[in-house]
């Protein structure tokens, strides 16, 4: 199993969610995040005083997938989240040892 984490532009969340549902992903966890990559932040001006805002609002989306689906899920996310402009975000995946469904105690792929 793999944990796929995507940090994307907040306004792309609905597109990504819809694409994942269509692909057959049954659940996900979404949280608000802040960060920057190569685009750095942006500048805000209040009464003429400039503030460099380093951390830009992002959405962090986490999906668990079976090993053989992982690459497809990543492709779905990347395709749906892409605008082609700077600041689109990142997607990565890591191996997962154990997954347990809290309600039933099922372990492994059945718990996904």
């Amino acid at each position: 199993m793999r944990l796929i984490t995507a940090v994307i532009k907040p306004f792309k969340l609905d597109d990504v969610k819809a694409a994942l549902e269509q692909f057959g992903v049954k659940g996900m966890t979404v949280s608000e995040a802040s960060g920057y990559g190569r685009q750095r932040g942006h500048t805000e001006v209040y009464r003429g005083a400039e503030y460099q805002v380093d951390l830009v609002p992002k959405v962090r989306l986490e999906v668990l997938a079976e090993e053989e689906d992982a690459d497809d899920v990543i492709d779905v996310i990347v395709k749906a989240a892409q605008t082609g402009k700077i600041g689109d975000g990142k997607v990565w995946s890591v191996p997962v040892d154990t997954v347990i469904r809290v309600r039933t105690g099922e372990r492994g792929p059945e718990a996904l």
Partner: protein, 435 residues
């Protein structure tokens, strides 16, 4: 008691309008602080309503408006004590127009907002108890005498200074005091290193809207009658405010690249401040000119603190002191309708240079008096009880450390913990709420 019911109705309404400006100011200022200080910022305005009302009833009205020993020397400086506890005010009319009690209530609301205005200079870091003491003493030794000088028959009234609704008494006075307090308290922790952006600009715009609305009572009400001059003051207020807000936005667009909501709110307030002394004295074209000048000048003046290195947190100096001076001095050029003995038309209306001299003297005298007395008072309070909260409390946030509250409960984890469903539990002796 002979009164005019139309004017009485207008003055009752104006009084309520001006009182609303102080909660409006609380929103205007509260939105500009960081989220961790919003409640304390708003509380400094609200508590001014409490302290100044009590002080006003006890002796403030008397010190400001009781004409002590007629034309004597003492009356040039301060009022008498015949009206302490508002004695002798009931059943008397102001100028056969409306009840003196309404005049007293109307003037009270001016005293309240003048004190509240100062608090913008000391956001995030003032001890609440020290602010309460300051508000009482400052009103007593600065506001009441200055109101007497300009409006109560004191020395500036005698000379013929023109201040229709309080550009000098309220805004220059508060602006100079704000500068002094900012210097006494020093800079906020992290000033110019950490970003201190306004946490809620919608509150700022709400506050600006309430101020704009209430200011019609402030300016048109200051005619102290429902008549033609009140109408002129009303329209001039609208003109200068709209023009100043527009001017500030244009400056921002060309200087910074974007026209901002904070700029619109700030420009509106700058225009309101600048037209305050002039609103009943000038023609509409002059209101436009004053608004234009104030919008441009204040948009630049708010940057001065960074060059000069004082932390006037919410720009009381850049908006109220600078805007107030612009309005006061402009009258020396464009005053068209002087109405009291000693008041003259401005230079452009053939009145000569006399009035311009007075319009410079007023702000200098009031500004200097307010600055010096406030600085000394601030230092004394700092010595006796401490004016500033501890550095740790300031970093943690003055709302939680001073008031044991937070302005917003947006997170899902914050509300967890243990409540006492049967109501407040008496804290064990000696134990304070650990915020």
């Amino acid at each position: 008691m002979k009164i005019d019911s139309g004017s009485t109705a207008w003055m009752l309404i104006s009084t309520a309008l001006v009182l609303l400006m102080t909660p409006g100011l609380a929103f205007f200022y509260g939105g500009m602080t960081r989220a961790k200080s919003v409640l304390n910022m708003m509380m400094m305005s609200f508590v001014s309503i409490i302290t100044v009302t009590i002080t006003w009833v006890l002796f403030g009205y008397s010190l400001a408006f009781d004409p002590v020993d007629g034309e004597g020397f003492l009356n040039k400086i301060v009022g008498g004590l015949d009206n302490i506890g508002l004695m002798g005010v009931n059943e008397v009319a102001y100028n056969d127009t409306f009840p003196m009690m309404v005049f007293s209530a109307f003037q009270l609301t001016f005293a309240i907002i003048t004190v509240a205005l100062i608090s913008g200079a000391i956001a995030d870091r003032a001890k609440f108890g020290a602010w309460v003491v300051f508000s009482i003493v400052w009103a007593s030794i600065v506001y009441f005498p200055v109101a007497h000088w300009v409006w109560g028959g004191g020395w500036l009234t005698e000379l013929g200074i023109e201040d229709f609704a309080g550009g000098t008494v309220v805004h220059i006075n508060a602006g100079a005091a704000a500068l002094a307090l900012a210097l006494v308290l020093g800079k906020r922790a992290g000033w110019r290193k950490e970003p201190m952006r306004p946490h809620n600009l919608t509150l700022v715009l709400l506050g600006a809207g309430l101020l704009w609305f209430g200011w019609f009572g402030f300016n048109a009400g200051s005619e102290l009658a429902a008549d033609g001059t009140a109408g002129l003051a009303f329209m001039n207020t609208q003109i200068a405010t709209a023009v100043a807000a527009g001017a500030w936005l244009v400056v921002e667009k060309f200087r910074d690249g974007h026209a901002t909501s904070l700029g619109a709110a700030s420009g509106a307030v700058a225009g309101l401040v600048a037209i305050t002394p002039a609103c009943g004295f000038v023609d509409p074209w002059a209101a436009m000119a004053i608004g234009l000048l104030a919008g441009i000048a204040c948009a630049y003046a708010v940057g001065l603190k960074y060059k000069l290195g004082y932390d006037d947190s919410l720009d009381v100096v850049g908006v109220h002191l600078v805007g107030g001076v612009i309005g006061a001095v402009a009258l020396g050029f464009v005053a068209a309708y002087p109405f009291l003995d000693g008041q003259n038309k401005g230079v452009l209306y053939g009145g000569g240079w006399t009035q311009l001299g007075l319009q410079v003297l007023g702000p200098v005298a009031v500004g200097a008096y307010s600055f010096i007395v406030t600085f000394i008072l601030g230092k004394i309070i700092d010595k006796v009880m401490g004016f500033r909260i501890t550095a740790e409390d300031e970093v943690a946030g003055i709302d939680i450390t001073t008031h044991a509250e937070t302005g917003y409960d947006l997170g899902t984890f914050h509300a967890s913990g243990v409540a006492s469903p049967n109501g407040p539990v008496a804290a064990p002796a000696g134990k304070k709420v650990d915020a």
